[in-house]
Amino acid sequence: MNKGNRYIVKAENVFKVYNPGQENEVKVLNNIDFKIREGGFLSIIGPSGSGKTTLLDIIGCLLKPSSGRVFIDGMDIGKLDDSELARIRGKKIGFIFQQYNLIHSLTALENVVLALRIMGKSKQEARRRAKSLLEMMGLGKRLDHTPSQLSGGEQQRVAIARALANDPKIILGDEPTGNIDTKTGEKILELLKHLNREKGYTIILVTHDPRIGKYSDRIIHLIDGEIVKDGKA
């Protein structure tokens, strides 16, 4: 179900410098230029410190580039203010993290409900949707468990349900299988592939996982903040 005709992310001559002009200045991204088609499954690989997380954070509207332009679903994020960026994060983007980053005082259900409530859904609607998402993730019997009562794989599936809560365009994952054993990791990747193929979500993963070739339709190889290879898996 690859839509394939629209670019959901466009990066034009993106540079990112941390602490510019200071002693501890770090040039992290160097003239990054790429386009991602809607409905694609992209992986970003590269050695530690090469700028993968930084790039993902920029695509996720958590960071602005130092120069160059980034378009998310047609919008130039450099032109948006804090609350507009927050809105894009909530509406168009779903994050999943290596450490899951669930809120520990809340149950699985409440973690997903929170994401919906933040975007203004009513209490009942939020509960209904959160429940059906978690059931879809195979967590129907874990709704009232807190993160500490769930395994790593289960926590990551709660996180995926949360990422899907507001029906985003893009799912961003920063090493989503990094903390999970091989077999469970494979299941998570399969789940993401399924979401990509069947539901049309654009997926962008940063990963070390060697199996990624099997799932991606494109891999960007980053070294020292530059794209050294960009092509089909």
Binding site: T53, D57, G60, L62, L63, D82, S83, A86, R87, R89, G90, K91, G94, F95, F97, N101, L102, I103, S105, L106, L114, A115, R117, I118, M119, R162, A165, N166
Partner: protein, 380 residues
Amino acid sequence: MLDIAFRNIKRQKTRTILTVLGIMIGIAAVVSLGSISQGMNIMMEKSFELVAGRIMVFQGEGAAGIAGMMTAMSTSEITEEQIETMISVSGVKDVVPMSMYMDTSVNMMQLGWVAIGIDPVRLNYFKGENILMYDGRELEEGDSDVAIIGKDVADKYNLEVGDSFTVKEADFDIVGVIERSDIQDIDMGVIVPIEDLKVLLDKDTYQMAFVIPEDVKDTEIIAEHIEDADEDLYTMTGKEIARQASEILDQISIVTIGLGAIAAIVGGLGVMNTMIMAVLERRREIGVMKAIGATNGMVLQQILIESALISLIGGMIGIALGMLGAFGITMYAGGMLKAVVTPVLAVGALAFALCLGLVGGIYPAWKAAKLDPVEALRYE
């Protein structure tokens, strides 16, 4: 957001309880101390009814205001001649000489009654016509060795009409009990014929006199004329007393409420401290909330709701405790003072608690709102 706020403050139970305690103690102090000045206010206002439209006259050194009046009561000696002088001042309708006797063997706080000597015919100049008898009769012309007592005295000593009451070795038959007036001098009064009290105190003089003007409008002028007519007399009018009393009361209010406020502000600092720690602990969580779409404003609001919640809980318990405190003060004062928690005081204290929560919460809330989500999520 409110349910999450509730859950968040429950996460660090001990810390939340301690913070609530801080606010609670402060607000309890504000309320109970405030109730003292509120009670004094009400009591004073009631007492002014006694002097409204009339002139109190004393003999001796004047000037020193209400405090002076208290000492004057014990040293003042007004002669029959001076009473005549007052009557002769133009515009004076009547003069009511009075004497008082207190049991000085007990301390002020335990004071249960005051004997007041008055001409039976002129009783209503003191008591006022609106205040009726609870039981029995008023004093009448020619009465001797009889008394009418205030409701507090009757209740405190379990007395009724037909019993007798001993004032300085002399027994008086109780012929009447006055209904509750909320005017202290009446409710605590043992009112006897003036001639009886003069004999008992072995004095030809009176301690004070009420001068009743023909026309209330002339009160101040007549007071001046009395002082002019006899240098040894000095006068106080309701207006003057009210002015001085409100000055004193204002000062008492400032001191008492100020003390309470300091305690409460310390509680507010506790809220700030707690919320700063909470924000530090929840950095990652706040980062996550922002990553999934929360605006700075939402984060700010979330922290403010939490601190407001803590301070409102503390405030409400504090008000309840302050009411208990006011009750305790009233009991301890034994009729001297009725500490009152007025609705204004209670609502004001709650609003103050809320302010403390919001002011204490604003800095941590602002810190949380400004938190960089990338930093917060990276932070291990």
